[in-house]
Symmetry: C2
Subunit: 146 residues, 2 copies
DNA sequence: ACCCACTCGTTGGCCAAGCCAACGATCGCC
DNA sequence: GGCGATCGTTGGCTTGGCCAACGAGTGGGT
């Protein structure tokens, strides 16, 4: 009965495909960042700081979808490497203000490069037009899901 | 200098987009399966068994990209729930042959339903044609990456 | 017939990600 | 002044993906 008409369940559903594709993507990204001594959270924070400027840790968490507790740990590591500075907010003593250092920006540029390469190798089988379309659709999904 | 021309790094790279999109997808899938008392691995194994028939644990791992050790744990759980049977292979005493039970197939059908709903809600903003295109491109990426 | 390389199931462990609860300190508002 | 909310921080939990090692077993070569 199911000898010939078996549904291609494993590869047929989009959510499953997305899962598989992102397993690959995550592995590629992880390897790329890991080779630079960083992890996803590091990139997330550095990019958010570079793009939107200094912010409190809670604000950083909101920007990048990180939990406050994870922001603490990540800022600790980035600070230790000299990529960010953490100083108390004079206007609100609950807050720390986090700032990127020039060395942090330089590191971010390096991460950008290796991430670009990872992306290139991931999307190798797609034409430029297809990549654009893919990005457009993913953005639509993300926007819709707010 | 970066006041206006800041690259939309966070959202501009496809690998990052894929990561974000799959965070959503993974959450949806996880919640859907979790509501049925299962996890991704359970679905992976049940679907592989349903699609390709009985197999050894190592073979199951290869089919679904699971590590052998994870197959062990998952088969344990599925066996305890009566969804699969594990019996020694008479032809090769190193192997166990894993088989889906009718109850396991029924459970898989239920998982299929909730996964379909999760996928539906995930891809809500995309037209049918777009979904097809998305699936096609993801398949291309997966095939290319072996 | 023996060895050797390999496979298989299993145990145990590691790290990254994502999340949640609780705490003391601080702030804003009524 | 008191009260609810916010912030940084600590600690913990779960899932997912992976790797190393082990004993049992297999198959090929010689």
């Amino acid at each position: 009965m199911e000898t010939s008409g078996a549904p291609r369940r494993l590869r047929g559903t989009a959510s499953w495909l997305l899962g598989q594709a992102t397993t690959h993507a995550a592995r590629l990204v992880s390897e790329a960042l890991g080779a630079m001594g960083s992890r996803r959270y590091h990139y997330s924070l550095l990019a958010a700081l570079d793009e939107f400027g200094p912010a409190s840790q809670a604000e950083l968490g909101r920007r990048g979808g990180l939990d406050r507790s994870d922001v603490v740990a990540t800022v600790n590591e980035l600070e230790q490497k000299g990529f960010v500075e953490r100083r108390p907010d004079p206007g609100d003593r609950r807050r720390n203000i986090v700032t990127v250092t020039p060395s942090g920006v330089a590191h971010l540029r390096r991460l950008d490069r290796v991430l670009g390469q990872a992306q290139e190798s991931l999307l190798a089988p797609l034409s430029p037009a297809e990549r654009e379309e893919l990005v457009r659709m993913l953005n639509a999904v993300l926007e819709h899901h707010g």
